[in-house]
């Protein structure tokens, strides 16, 4: 209630504010309240559901929108993957949306290829620039069109797949540096299902993590972090135990109760050692499988494994027994194992433990929930809606070979995986791409890859676009719907929209394959259109809970024993004494987050560094090399040489040097550029995208930069002062 006195005061204050507040800034835009925009009430926020596009995990989000602007992203509480939770990267989706360096208009190359000189053009001009080569290619050599994307899911994949097929080219490759290729082939071999399994952490009593990064950068970090929390604390009398094997005390390793360091790229041998003990001591639940594997496992006695991996034989035996006796237990392999010299072998060896423990298809074990039945209606085309294509590193290498041979007249680049940055430079992606006469890129930002294109078409971010998605794990059969939560900020068009328009203009086959007027129409047609069920689903964020979490029985009887292939490690141990362990950065992932200031400024949980990359070494190793924390070093491998700052990790194996990926950009805007060098440079152009198969040498050097860290080097050891 206002009394007269207060009224006068307020009135005075308002008058004052009007008089003097007005001096500061001229109001440039008034909000027309005669006809307010849809869902627009001043001071009142609305929440829209969509999907987080910051990594491939496919978490559902709700976005708080106030006065037409997205203010806050939160996990969608209804979404089965993340149940309201969200990680740092997801929170930062807003900075991608409102990034000052986002591409706002189509741009055509105005200088030499790769010079980064572009002039803005209108969409009409851009489309005509695109249609010229496209029409010519379609008429003359339809097979000369190449599409490089990240693995696409949902109807965007369908549109891209159909377009390429109708165009007449089968050259569609996908690149994702941490893609699940190794995991998929391992699962096919061990479980008989070429899919990503659901690990039921919440009901497990024991978890063996083999370089697991399920809490940070794995397939679905938020999902598994939530599951991990439940495993630890949601049961009254049971607290799940976690044992971690890996070359480095990573964030996930620090969550473990027991951390047993092993050499990089040897996780699979440790798993086989455990399997050996289980079979030898008759600790397995699946005795039939055990019987068949006994011979193969003979070579992996704990003593043998110790020689290979550095994990003590008695630790292996003790863990094996504890694992077998605390069922249900789980074994998970992480990015570190999958990107080892022979990722598929390591993943398969780990998966074998789940089979031996009899934990396939049981609560607290591994299961394969049915993929969305909604996609079944597409028949053979359904594969296009799953992560597609499944080409991976091998496909990329083959495509590069063909590029160099001049097989492609035109290339379409899309996605955030930035191959020019994430592929080893020795693979010469840039050079190969320069052999393609016309390159068009769909992107939100100029980066190392898109800045090689002749034509750059700006796309909306995940928060501004229509779409649908099926998360890789934790989906429980649910389909997520994406909708623009805000009016698109810039003059952008999504890739499916452009492909649909291009198909229309090409006519014939492509026009028939993509019969919609827009991608939105495609989605609406697929899900029953507005007004019906889809509207309700849009409000909820997707179709959840419709399909039961049925666990399909999988083939576990005739397990193929994973064979380790001898992969040479790059580098002579004498000249290069340290094994290099590269891992995705918690915040920057494969580097795509490097242009988001929030992520750059979030201290890494292990090194506590911000804004720059570092090389992690054991303090003892560093002492031997005369290195202090923060010192500059050159990291030399047989394939390359970079500089970085030293950060101590007391839990890293003494013969290992670890570096996070993600920094070292040169063309990803001012927030990302010049923050150290890209460790991918150190990798050879091998047959595998092996992040753990190189050796390096460190040497002290003077750097003009310093590494900003939040943890005091001395104080970080004094936890006793606090607790």
């Amino acid at each position: 209630m206002l009394d007269r006195r207060q009224f006068l005061k307020l009135g005075g204050a308002t008058a004052f504010a009007t008089l003097f507040g007005g001096c500061d800034k001229v109001q440039s835009r008034l909000i027309p309240f005669v006809i307010p925009p849809e869902n627009y009430t001043l001071g009142e926020a609305l929440w829209y559901a969509s999907v987080c596009g910051q990594c491939p995990a496919g978490c559902g989000v709700v976005v708080r929108v106030s006065e037409g602007r997205a203010k806050k992203v939160e996990g969608n509480p209804l979404h089965p993957v993340n149940r309201g939770k969200l990680c740092a990267r997801g929170q930062a989706a807003l900075q991608a949306l409102y990034h000052p360096e986002r591409l706002s208009r189509p741009m055509k190359l105005s200088g030499a290829r790769g010079s980064g000189a572009y002039t803005p053009v209108s969409w009409e001009e851009a489309l005509s620039l695109l249609m010229g080569p496209l029409k010519k290619g379609k008429a003359e050599a339809p097979g000369s069109l190449l599409m490089v994307s990240e693995p696409m899911r949902g109807h965007a994949g369908l549109v891209a797949g159909r377009f390429m097929k109708a165009f007449g080219s089968k050259h569609r490759v996908a690149w994702d540096p941490f893609g699940p290729d190794a995991m998929l082939s391992a699962n096919a071999a061990v479980y008989g299902v070429r899919d990503l399994p659901e690990h039921d952490l919440a009901n497990a009593r024991y978890l063996l993590s083999f370089s697991g990064d399920f809490l940070e950068t794995g397939i679905s970090p938020v999902h598994y972090a939530r599951e991990y929390g439940r495993m630890r604390g949601d049961r009254e009398t049971i607290r799940g135990k976690v044992v971690h094997f890996g070359p480095r005390l990573s964030m996930t390793a620090t969550a473990a109760d027991l951390f047993l360091p092993c050499a990089p790229g040897t996780e699979g041998f440790v798993a086989l050692g455990i399997a050996h003990v289980m079979v030898r001591d008759r600790l397995t639940a699946a005795s039939s499988a055990a019987g068949r594997l006994a011979d193969d496992l003979g070579a992996y006695s704990p003593e043998e494994v110790e020689k290979k991996t550095g994990v003590h034989a008695h630790d292996i035996a003790a863990v094996a027994e504890e694992f077998a006796r605390n069922q249900p237990g789980l074994a998970v392999a992480g990015t570190g194992a999958a990107t080892g010299p022979d990722g598929a072998f390591h993943c398969a060896a780990v998966a074998l433990l789940n089979v031996l423990a009899g934990n396939v298809g049981t609560p607290g074990g591994v299961s394969f929930p049915d993929r969305a039945q909604a996609f079944a209606k597409y028949g053979a085309e359904a594969a296009l809606l799953a992560p597609s294509p499944e080409s991976g590193y091998g496909g990329m290498r083959a495509a590069l070979e063909k590029m160099r041979g001049g097989a492609f007249r035109m290339a379409i680049l899309s996605g955030a995986t930035n191959p020019a940055f994430t592929l080893p430079p020795s693979l010469k992606f840039n050079e190969a791409l320069s052999k393609v006469p016309f390159v068009v890129a769909f992107a939100s930002f100029l980066d190392e890859t898109t800045s090689l294109a002749d034509l750059v078409l700006p796309v909306p971010t995940a928060l501004e676009a229509w779409g649908d998605d099926l998360a890789p794990v934790g989906h429980a059969g649910a389909i997520t719907l994406c909708q623009p939560v805000v009016e698109p900020l810039h003059d952008t068009r999504s890739m499916p929209d452009v492909l649909i328009a291009a198909a229309k203009e090409l006519g014939g086959e492509p026009a028939k394959a993509l019969p919609w007027s827009s991608f939105r129409e495609c989605i609406e047609k697929a899900y029953g259109g507005p007004g019906g069920e889809m509207e309700k689903a849009l409000q909820r964020g997707g179709f959840f809970g419709e399909s039961s979490s049925s666990r399909s029985a999988s083939r576990t009887g005739s397990v193929a024993f994973p064979k380790a292939a001898e992969r040479p490690i790059d580098g002579d141990p004498k000249a290069f004494p340290l094994a290099l362990h590269l891992y995705p950065s918690l915040t920057l992932y494969d580097g795509r987050g490097a242009n988001l200031p929030w992520l750059q400024e979030m201290p890494d949980p292990i090194s506590t560094a911000v804004w720059r990359n570092w090389v992690e070494v054991n303090p003892k190793t560093a002492a031997g090399l005369g290195l202090a924390e923060g010192d500059g070093v050159t990291v030399t491998s047989p394939s390359g040489k970079i500089t970085a700052h030293v950060a101590f990790n007391p839990g890293i194996a003494p013969d290992v040097a670890a570096m996070p990926l993600g920094q070292g950009h040169t063309r990803y805007g001012k927030y990302a550029n010049g923050r150290g060098e890209n460790p991918i440079t150190l990798l050879p152009a091998g047959e595998m995208y092996a992040l753990q198969a190189t050796r390096v040498a460190l040497a002290k050097t003077k750097l003009s930069t310093t590494l900003a860290r939040t943890g005091n080097p001395e104080g970080q050891w004094k936890v006793k002062n606090m607790m």
């Binding site: 939530r226 049971i238 969550a255 949980p605």
Partner: protein, 232 residues
């Protein structure tokens, strides 16, 4: 109804992932200061995740300790502010009035948890990053202190909604951004004045402890110790 807001942080669940830090950035208009300033120990985060090391290789372990403002019942910061820029509000939270602050920084000195941060400059949001700024709270000018508020804007909103609907605030209806987003569910927020709230129940856990209890600040943030081994 009087509230006694409190937070529980279960160190057995905390993974140190930092989602709380970025969620707080987004919710509370926290500026990004850049590498040079970060190197001068001036990060503006309202919640930080301390990572301590313990032990030697191969037994080395990390201990994560997320530290928001403890919202002390007997807050040392409130005493020393000469202008009442920080005060105890009706819910027992340590509120900041930015407009009153003259920047003595005494409160920051007197905070044993070092959770207060100072606006060393007028921090800028490059356009259009400023579109993200939350309209619920101000962007602080140079020369004032700021700190975690337990997302007081959310508490106020929940109170208003509850008042409009003529009811009390429900347990779990209001949570700060950090608690909301915490992937492993390590953080819990609630009203201790409500005897049936989840936090009241949770804080009966014998693992509970508060930071620097010997200082007598009576923090509102309670930690639950990490456990070892399987079972309880």
């Amino acid at each position: 109804m009087k509230h006694t807001w409190a937070m529980a942080i279960d160190l057995d669940r905390c993974t140190g992932c930092g989602a709380c830090v970025v969620a707080c950035n987004a919710e509370n208009n926290i500026p990004v200061i850049g590498e040079a300033e970060a190197g001068k120990n001036r990060l503006m985060h309202w919640i930080r995740v301390n990572r301590y090391w313990e032990g030697e290789y191969p037994e080395a372990q990390a201990v994560y300790l997320p530290i928001p403002c403890m919202q002390c019942e007997r807050a040392p910061c409130e005493l020393v502010c000469p202008v009442y820029a920080t005060y105890h509000n009706e819910d027992g939270l340590n509120a900041m009035v930015y407009n009153r602050c003259i920047g003595t920084r005494y409160c920051a000195n007197n905070c044993p948890y070092s959770v207060r941060v100072f606006n060393w400059y007028d921090y800028k949001w490059e356009k259009p990053l400023d579109e993200q700024l939350s309209p619920d709270l101000t962007v602080r000018s140079r020369g004032v202190m700021e700190k975690c508020t337990f997302c007081i804007q959310r508490i106020r909103r929940a109170k208003e909604t509850a008042a409009e609907e003529g009811r009390e605030i429900r347990d779990g209806e209001v949570v700060p951004a950090c608690v909301q987003t915490c992937p492993p569910g390590a953080m819990l927020f609630g009203d201790l004045a409500d005897p049936h709230s989840e936090i009241t129940r949770k804080l009966k856990d014998p693992r509970r402890f508060r930071l620097m209890e010997h200082l007598g600040t009576e923090p509102r943030v309670v930690y639950l110790k990490r456990q070892k081994g399987a079972g309880r």
